[in-house]
């Protein structure tokens, strides 16, 4: 689950970059950019995995192993989704609604209001799914199935990582 969002994001952005790199140099260099990107994504996935494992030690053992894994998977996925959302402003030019901006500008402490609003928005998206994973069998089973399917997809990404690694090695020979 750690690898999935990181690889999806890397692939989307790397493919967006493919055309200008090809235009400026050649297709082999563009493939090189994607390959390095995949290798970096693999490294980041391992780092996130390790962080998740460490976090796992903080989760109470009153829940079984499956539930703890599901909980951590959900947390990683939601955090990754928010990290993607934070970049949408630049990718799509998505901005805060006009009314919100006006409200912030008029408030005495716009930064505090912004952070408080952000927290109010993010916290429920983390806490509610976490609570449901732990308390609801239906949600737990859904997450487990989702994790299994995404793990299959992740295998495909690992193949791409291996291909990327080979290309990186070849380019550095």
């Amino acid at each position: 689950m750690c690898a999935f969002p990181l690889h999806v994001w890397t692939i989307i952005l790397a493919l967006r970059d493919f055309s200008w790199v090809t235009e400026r140099t050649n297709a082999w260099d563009a493939i090189g950019v994607i390959s390095y990107g995949m290798v970096f994504a693999l490294i980041e996935s391992l780092v996130v995995f390790l962080a998740a494992v460490l976090l796992g030690f903080l989760v109470s053992r009153q829940w079984d192993e499956g539930r703890r894994i599901a909980l951590l998977s959900v947390l990683v996925l939601i955090t990754a989704l928010w990290a993607m959302t934070s970049q949408l402003y630049f990718l799509w030019g998505v901005s805060l609604p006009e009314q919100m901006m006006r409200f912030l500008a008029q408030s005495e402490h716009p930064v505090r209001v912004l952070y408080a609003t952000g927290l109010a928005l993010v916290l429920p998206t983390v806490l509610i799914p976490a609570f449901l994973v732990l308390k609801s069998n239906k949600v737990f089973h859904f997450v487990r199935e989702l994790t299994e399917r995404l793990s299959l997809l992740t295998m495909f990404y690992l193949v791409l990582d291996a291909g990327g690694l080979v290309i990186v090695v070849v380019r550095n020979l």
Binding site: R24, F40, A83, V168, R171, N172
Partner: protein, 511 residues
């Protein structure tokens, strides 16, 4: 580099990001395919370009503020050109004119982050100096786009990032043989601030904190923030000068060095030693009416930016002095031609700030030029109008080399064998939004002949199908306040006809 003056679209953003890194596509410290065969006994040339340095703001040329006191002193040993014009009004065309010795309508590097026409890959100053050891460096990614085209004729292309404060040296070390593409990918993966997004979702945030920590110690020296080329690409001019000064003696001689530093280009982040120097001097520049292409900057805003820019010039001035001292102390000055110039100017008037504008008034196209001849101890002033395209033939001439037939400029006085032609026409071209390989249909061009300067705007939406023509007498009216196009009809018509004929001529290959 106008990215700092207006938001970039995605494509420009990416191209810049790419370039930032493609500047590593280099025969770095190795020997390039077209490696030079330095001829023993020849003289060195050091071409130093400070980006966006306007002659109008330089005390040497009569500016009210003492923005460059060191240059004033050094000028006593130089040939000082008082009416020197850039080829264009922003980095790409201005630099390409310097490097190719041709005008933008010939080299075609007219668009933002543009490249010169393929034929100039072997028609440029580095190729022309193939008897020298050739080195190049630039902070500015737009310059690196051009230098990248000339790598075959560079013996050393110093990576842009080498002179940044927090560089990711491990990427270059780890992927030595594929440094360029590894660096592009690394930038796209981790540097979220450069484009606002990155491949990395988590580590990019940690990386930002790490980078900020690395430069934290320097921040107190720059009250307006650290000089940077965008994002967190911070640099110190003094560090660049130290490195260059330290390395010059080690280059094989004779060498030809092209060093293009970003200051005083925006963002104007002066050193604390100069911070606030002009803030309360009470000086008010001549007020000028808002231009049709005004960016609607208020007088207050323009005054503020002018002060910031002028204070940044003090920093540039001190650092150039230090470079000069390095050269002198090392003895290199005895055998090195040193050129001090810029690629274009900057303006803070008529509602316009910066240089990203269709307007080609003097502050944005008139640049300083000082030539320090080896061993020279006296000053000479040249008032004849000259152009950036004259640099290439002049430097070749003074170093005893052949001037190629494709060079459009002439040898500058006093090095030319004949007196300067008083009827010579000088051109500057702004065609940023014109298609590269198409006739110029949306552009501004100027022609300077003798004391007169004609500005010709055409194809802009704001002109609603009309042309805009202005004529100034630069001797009587150096501030360009009185448009004489109607008052001096004959002069105006003659210059316009000549300019139109020239345009028809340069447009021919694209019709």
């Amino acid at each position: 580099m106008e990215k700092m003056n207006r938001p970039l679209d995605r494509r420009e953003f990416l191209k810049l990001a790419g370039l930032l890194s493609l500047s590593y596509a280099i025969p770095q410290f190795g020997v390039a395919p077209g490696a030079s065969q330095p001829t023993p006994g020849g003289q060195n040339v050091l071409l130093v370009v400070f980006d966006a340095l306007s002659a109008y703001h330089t005390s040497l040329y009569g500016y009210h503020r003492q923005t460059m006191p060191n240059l004033d002193q050094l000028a006593e040993r130089a040939i000082v050109y008082h009416n020197h014009f850039a080829g264009g009004n922003f980095t790409t065309p201005g630099t390409a004119s310097l490097l190719t010795g041709t005008l933008p309508w010939t080299h075609r590097a007219i668009n933002h982050n543009g490249t010169v026409d393929g034929s100039f890959v072997k028609k440029n100053i580095f190729y022309a100096f193939r008897n020298h050891y050739r080195i190049a460096y630039s902070h500015n990614p737009l310059v690196n786009t051009l230098l990248f085209q000339f790598t075959q004729d560079l013996d050393e292309f110093i990576p842009r990032e080498r002179l940044f404060l927090a560089r990711d040296g491990f990427i270059q070390t780890l992927f030595k043989t594929d440094e360029d593409i590894a660096t592009v990918s690394w930038a796209r993966t981790i540097k979220r601030r450069e484009e606002g997004y990155a491949y990395s979702l988590f580590l990019a945030h940690l990386y930002e904190q790490y980078r900020e920590g690395k430069v934290a110690n320097f921040k107190p020296f720059f009250p307006r923030g650290l000089p940077n080329t965008g994002g967190d690409n911070y640099f110190l001019l003094e560090q660049a000068i130290d490195q260059l000064g330290g390395q010059l003696g080690a280059f094989p001689q004779p060498f030809f060095g092209y060093f293009h530093f970003l200051p005083p280009h925006y963002p104007y982040k002066t050193h604390r030693d100069f911070y606030g120097k002009f803030e309360r001097d009470g000086w008010m520049p001549v007020e000028k009416p808002a231009d049709l292409f005004s960016q609607e900057k208020s007088t207050k805003t323009l005054l503020k930016w002018r002060i910031w820019y002028d204070e940044y010039l003090l920093y540039v001035d001190r650092e150039f002095r230090r470079l000069f001292d390095y050269l002198e102390a090392s003895g290199l000055l005895e055998n090195t031609w040193v050129i001090f110039t810029s690629d274009h100017g900057e303006m803070f008037e008529r509602g316009i700030s910066g240089h990203i504008t269709p307007v080609l008034h003097q502050p944005v196209i008139r640049v300083p030029l000082l030539i320090f001849k080896p061993g020279r101890e006296t000053r000479e002033d040249v008032y004849t109008p000259t152009s950036a395209i004259d640099m290439l033939p002049t430097l070749l001439q003074v170093t005893g080399q052949e001037i190629p037939d494709w060079a459009e400029g002439v040898v500058l006085p006093p090095f030319a064998p004949t007196s300067p032609d008083p009827e010579r026409s000088l051109y500057t071209v702004q065609a940023k939004h014109n298609e590269k390989y198409a006739p110029l249909t949306r552009a501004t061009t100027t022609i300077v002949k003798g004391r007169h300067k004609l500005l010709y705007f055409f194809g802009y939406d704001d002109l609603v199908g009309r042309e805009r023509i202005e004529l100034y007498d630069l001797e009587e009216d150096p501030q360009e306040l009185n448009d004489l196009y109607l008052a001096r009809k004959e002069v105006g018509a003659e210059l316009l006809d000549e300019l139109r004929a020239k345009l028809a001529d340069v447009n021919k290959p694209y019709l």
